[in-house]
Symmetry: C2
Subunit: 463 residues, 2 copies
């Protein structure tokens, strides 16, 4: 790995100031501290400097210089990631895309948009709504598009629309040596050349830095319906998931809440959920009539699998109420347990293994004997987020939580799954890469060395 | 590039015979001739030998030897590709996957299957039907799955289900040096490590050879409907495509036929199509009731855009009739023009540019002044297949057709599209790679050199 660079030389600072303007190069304590950690529990590391480029040419010039002078460069979006992905553990330069946050072009007839990486997911969608369009991958937080591309972020709408990797058509990327490449095409179908777009998506800024992207968009749906369905057992809920997908019902979202989460939500007084394994579903339809028939079929399939509670709501308001509830789970949990902190685990397995994944993860969090231990997940893609409690300011408790988290990852891998469904590798999942990838990890390393021979890009990540 | 190997040394032959059995190593004229060309017009090149491995260990041992002795190795599936993709232009070994054609495991509850690369698309789907499942990318021909992965093949169902690249979860790949890697996961969602699966999909056997794959499957749909809609203008048809996608109707297939194709089909007496720009659509639904409402909305949207003929059919038989018609277009064309041969061009552009793409390609084929000049295409993804006529045994006529094909590719690139939507690069599209990929082509070359330093894998392709 490249040597840490805790402070920049005067020459380097001078170069940066000359290149992008002195006011966009910061070495002040608060800027450096703000860019020293994301929303994970991983330890902060101060960068030597924070730069705010405005153009691709700025990014290129900085990388060319950094590559020649062996200065680490870590790209920064919104800092909302939760595996330590952008923590600059070797110091050097953090490159914040605050100023590269524009929508460059909307292609209404093609349902596509060109954007800069610094634009925030929610801000972008607010603007796209004026075109009747939206970008579906929703990480929950108001992440930057650049960060979402780096981590291949996903969320509740993945069953219907896919993850980030399914919705990026074209990228402008600056390589470690400062070369600028354009890869991909606005044609939605191509078999031309190697698929470099997918190589960069999910590479966490370790192979190049994205400076522009063309994203696939979708028409804002006209007709919504929402379902809350509770089950006797998690196995029943999972069978219902398979049955619903198998019937071709095509839910846009298919979320799981465990009984503890349901109980927590009920404390707000706003909801009256059975304290049982529960699914939340969203359906879209092009016509209002189709929805009733789809809901009737969904209910039948749930009932076949031990459903004890089935509530539907039709229309945007009902849909919004459902997601307000889902998105409040973490906040309500924290509010109800003021003396507890939580690690958010992110694992995924084949859907058929979901009951086993849930059962094993439940055993891990119960063993910690702390209140609030609970789980939510994107059941439609086998993705589970155990919320792992620990006592803040108690190192042993924190260590036990981290240990539990590791055990859960090993369960997911044993079940044929993955160490991370949507949060990325960052610092939190590096240790599991050899077990998950085996011999292909060496090929990844080879690709890293080829694209970034001096290891200046987000050093200490991925391997 | 590696030097051509027109014949194998006795040592090499002996090694191959020892490794996989003498009866599975052929140097006879007919085996070599059969593996000298695909279904394209590109000139045949004889391999030095054809081998039929049975296991991944066979493939590994052969590649290790070939890499050490600088012998070209070109993987072979069904030979149905149409850009010269598997023509062994440097001789050496053709590796035919005839014996590696098994379904290894079906995961019913996960809608997934593990297969070997030699299995044919149609044969696999016939077996999967017993599980109520199917693999949607349909290249038309009975291609091998290995070949489909190599070319990132797609077809009529791409609007609903995506191309090959959207439906491969996991690969076993033998690298040029014989190393075997496993990449990807059965979890449908992952953000773990670099996306090597997508690097190999579409790489045409130039980066490694796939020996097993996990594919995404889908439940066989229960309720079908089919639509034939003709329009005054191609621009109207294209606007209808956008309107249908924009309404969230989600057609599974959305095909285009030009007036000449409609006229050709009418000569069979089986169809009575207006001789006008025509769309063929297929819809799936989980319930029979939804379909009527969807068809009514589709008709309204078509009428808004100058639709002059709208015929619907509900049920499997109607759907099958539609696709029988679509898949007979080439055969009927050839039957009606016995003295003409046709090149099949494959270009794609953003959907909004489809009218311009169609108009420019039409100008090119009309200028050839030969009967049968016509076009079909996957309008839902902006993919067009002009059928370019030439006189067989007339070199000048063939050269004019090839020239027209090149002009069409340049049009597609000018419109922001791609040189190949689904047939791959092979020999036919190599010359357009610099124009399409610019500086990113050098990165592709670097990756090729890194993974296959001696250039033994399908030499002379991609670059």
């Amino acid at each position: 790995m490249i040597s840490p660079v805790p402070i920049l030389s005067d020459d380097a600072l001078h170069f940066l100031q000359q290149t992008i303007g002195a006011e966009f190069v910061s070495v002040n304590a608060s800027d450096r501290a703000y860019h020293a950690r994301d929303q994970s529990f991983h330890r902060a590391h101060l960068p030597a400097a924070v730069v705010f480029p405005e153009t691709t040419a700025h990014v290129s010039a900085i990388l060319k210089y950094a590559n020649a002078h062996l200065i680490p460069v870590t790209a920064w979006g919104a800092g909302t990631s939760i595996e330590g992905n952008p923590i600059p553990i070797a110091g050097g330069i953090v490159m914040d895309f605050l100023r590269m946050d524009k929508i460059l072009q909307v292609y209404d007839a093609d349902f596509q948009v060109d954007v800069q990486p610094g634009i925030k997911y929610k801000d972008m969608n607010a603007k796209l709504a004026q075109h009747g369009l939206f970008y579906p991958p929703d990480p929950g937080a108001n992440a930057s598009i650049g960060g979402m591309i780096a981590n291949n972020a996903a969320g509740t709408r993945t069953p219907g629309y896919g993850a980030t990797k399914d919705n990026v058509l074209r990228l402008e990327v600056v390589l470690a040596n400062g070369d600028v490449i354009h890869t991909g095409t606005r044609a939605v179908k191509t078999s031309s050349g190697y698929d470099l777009v997918h190589l960069f998506v999910g590479s966490e800024g370790t192979l190049g830095i994205v400076t522009a992207a063309t994203l696939k968009l979708y028409p804002l749906p006209e007709h919504f319906s929402a379902v809350v369905a509770s089950f006797e057992t998690i196995a029943g809920a999972t069978r219902a998931v398979s049955a619903i997908m198998g019937a071709g019902l095509g839910p846009v979202a298919l979320e799981f809440l465990d009984p503890v989460t349901a109980r927590n939500l009920n404390t707000t007084g706003e909801f009256k959920l059975p304290e049982a394994p529960t699914l939340l579903l969203e359906f879209h339809s092009a016509t209002p009539h189709a929805i009733e028939h789809e809901l009737a079929l969904a209910q039948e399939l749930c009932n076949d699998n031990g459903c004890t509670f089935f509530e539907t709501g039709v229309g945007r308001a009902e849909r919004d109420r459902l997601w307000k509830m889902r998105h409040s789970t973490y906040e309500v949990l924290v509010r109800n347990h003021p003396s507890i902190s939580f690690l958010v685990c992110d694992v995924a397995a084949p859907v058929s293994k979901y009951p086993e994944l849930v059962a094993e993860c439940e055993r891990e969090i119960r063993a910690l004997s702390l209140p609030g231990a609970s789980m939510v997940g994107h059941a439609g893609d086998g993705n589970l987020h155990p919320l792992v409690p620990y006592l803040p300011d108690d190192e042993a408790s924190h260590a036990r939580a981290v240990q539990a988290l590791g055990n859960m990852v090993r369960v997911a891998l044993r079940l044929g799954g993955t160490a991370t469904g949507e949060h990325g590798v960052g610092l939190g999942k590096i240790q599991f890469m050899p077990e998950e990838h085996g011999a292909s990890l060496e090929l990844m390393r080879t690709i890293k060395r080829t694209l970034d021979p001096h290891g200046i890009l987000n050093p200490g990540k991925m391997f």
